[in-house]
């Protein structure tokens, strides 16, 4: 997918092209500013005092940069406990997603069996199934199993495949040459060894994408923890934030500081691994 580069030397600097360019940059810059504004507001707001936040007319910059609000986060909630809970869920989501979906995707792409592609359509169909339809029975089922108020509904379930990730990995694996496994089979290698030693190392880019998606999904998740974690000791950062918000007197400057702390790791990860983020999203748009 090369970016097309066509040079129109004569047209490039004509007044109409320059005018069009100016308009284009102006529009994009304007929209960009609007897109960044909420995030800038959050980072700047996390240094403000309450009265600065509510001041009319609104002022972007805080009077001074001090970390009072960040310190207050640690005083108001057991931050590290909630961070640990979040990370436990994130960890199992990443491991579970990688292990189960690479196995399943391998079975749907590198081995020939009757009806394979028909069954795969079923996988795709379950992708558009709204969570709302399984939400209530799942809750009742986990309740019966005594899993409500444990991490299990959010962690254990990740080890059983997630259609979207199966789809992503399968798309990648199906593009690998067939000779890859054929020659190894002649040498007497078993299917699992071919999967583990030959295929997975080649699939690193797509596995990285899945790992990132799984991280983002579980780090940002609000609905899952809200429904399945009833015990305050198991709360994630998202739930803690929502709990702080529903206080009678929510201290918004502290909430913005907590928000900044939750966004920061994701932003850093994004800037380091940008390629995989964009790649993954692009792949999701390719029809199966």
């Amino acid at each position: 997918m090369k970016k097309r580069k066509i040079k129109y030397d004569s047209i490039e600097y004509s007044p109409s092209v320059i005018a069009r360019k100016v308009v284009m940059y102006a529009i994009l810059t304007l929209i960009s500013v609007a897109f960044v504004a909420p995030i800038a507001f959050m980072f700047l707001g996390s240094f403000k005092m309450t009265k600065e936040l509510t001041r009319v007319p609104f002022k972007w910059m805080p009077d001074s940069f001090n970390f009072t609000n960040f310190k207050a986060v640690f005083e108001k909630i057991p931050f590290f406990l909630y961070l640990k809970n979040t990370l436990i869920i994130v960890f199992f989501n990443m491991i579970g997603s990688l292990v189960s979906n690479s196995l399943v995707a391998y079975g749907f792409s590198r081995i020939k069996w009757p009806g394979r592609d028909k069954v795969f359509i079923l996988v795709i169909v379950t992708m558009i199934l709204p969570f709302q339809i399984t939400m209530v029975p799942l809750y009742l089922m986990f309740n019966k199993w005594g899993w409500i108020g444990t991490f299990l509904p959010l962690t254990f379930t990740c080890f059983f495949g997630y259609p979207f990730y199966i789809f992503l990995i399968r798309q990648f694996l199906i593009g690998l040459p067939a000779e890859l496994s054929e020659s190894a089979k002649i040498d007497g290698a078993g299917e699992f060894r071919i999967f583990w030693q030959l295929t997975l190392p080649l699939a690193k880019p797509v596995l990285a994408t899945v790992a990132i998606f799984a991280f983002m999904k579980s780090w940002n998740d609000y609905i899952g923890p809200l429904i399945f974690l009833s015990d305050q000791k198991l709360y994630t950062l998202s739930l803690a934030a929502s709990m702080l918000k529903s206080n009678l007197d929510p201290q918004w400057t502290v909430l913005l500081a907590l928000g900044s702390m939750m966004v920061m790791p994701v932003l850093i990860l994004f800037f380091v691994l940008q390629k995989y983020f964009i790649q993954g999203v692009t792949m999701s748009g390719i029809k199966g």
Binding site: M1, M24, V36, G45, F58, I111, T126, S238
Partner: protein
């Protein structure tokens, strides 16, 4: 074609996690959801079969109809506005004269990285009567409404939320735009077709399947939307932002009417499938025309 027995066994082993997951965490819940939708089920007591009562009650439930109406509002206004914005932004980003597409791309993608709860905090603040949105409107001499506590303006504030999170769609549109043969534009340019003409006659028609994909994603999203209205407005003011899934959630986990919630879930599934099918038909119809 011959299949080796060993291959079939291996394949089953490899996909067994999915088989178990599908049976336990998808198929069984779906079937029980269908059954519960015909029951009165209040968690503490065993489900009692009541036939179609839940479905019939939906039509007399004012809150349900409000939720349905609000969701339709988002489908009619939110989805097209968001789609047009995303396509327009992508076309601008794909322009050959733009030299900093990478930076802009990042800017549009960043909002999708923000955790739901944090994004909701930001919306509460941006759209307060003395918030940033109204401050900016004030620069132009417009005195903005108290968005989130206004029956008229609460939903538009949520449309802005949809627009703010177009990052994923933009990336997908950009991939679609890159696939369009540049020779087509060259030929059009030689024929004297301007930018608008090129966009309408080349870009949009060839981007059709990508638009369809993104719209379907968006529509599913609108039907499943509930964390955001739950945190930002709790469905208020009045029932102005009570969206479909939010009301479903409330029925299940606030009023503990599990059977009723399941019935809502099934209506949701049927409606969204119907809309998706119609969209497919519409887009395919256009395809045959060309």
């Amino acid at each position: 074609m011959d299949y080796r027995k060993k291959d079939i066994r291996n394949a089953l082993l490899f996909i067994s996690p999915w088989i178990i997951g599908f049976l336990v965490f998808t198929l069984y819940p779906i079937l029980s959801s269908l059954y519960y939708s015909f029951c009165e089920y209040k968690v503490i007591k065993a489900p009692v079969f009541i036939g179609l009562r839940n479905y019939i009650n939906l039509f007399g439930d004012k809150s349900y109809l409000a939720a349905l109406g609000n969701t339709v509002y988002m489908l009619i206004f939110g989805v097209p506005v968001t789609t047009v914005t995303a396509v327009a932004v992508s076309i601008l980003l794909n322009n050959k004269h733009l030299h900093h597409a990478g930076i802009f791309k990042v800017v549009f993608f960043i909002p999708t990285l923000v955790p739901t709860i944090v994004a909701c905090f930001l919306w509460i603040w941006m759209f307060q009567s003395g918030g940033i949105v109204n401050t900016v409107l004030g620069y132009f001499g417009i005195s903005g409404p108290a968005w989130l506590s206004s029956i008229t303006y609460a939903k538009p504030a949520f449309i802005f939320y949809m627009i703010w999170t177009i990052g994923n769609a933009v990336i997908i549109y950009l991939a679609g735009l890159q696939d369009i043969d540049p020779n087509l534009y060259e030929a059009a340019e030689i024929d004297g077709a301007g930018f608008i003409r090129q966009t309408m006659s080349i870009t949009i028609p060839l981007l059709r399947s990508t638009i369809l994909y993104n719209m379907v994603t968006l529509i599913i999203g609108v039907f499943q939307w509930f964390a955001e209205p739950l945190i930002i407005t709790e469905g208020g003011p009045g029932n102005a932002t009570l969206f479909y899934s939010l009301y479903l959630y409330q029925n299940a986990f606030r009023f503990f009417k599990m059977g009723y919630a399941c019935a809502m879930g099934w209506v949701l599934l049927v409606i969204s499938l119907a809309i998706i099918l119609v969209l497919f038909k519409v887009f395919k119809f256009g395809e045959a025309e060309n």
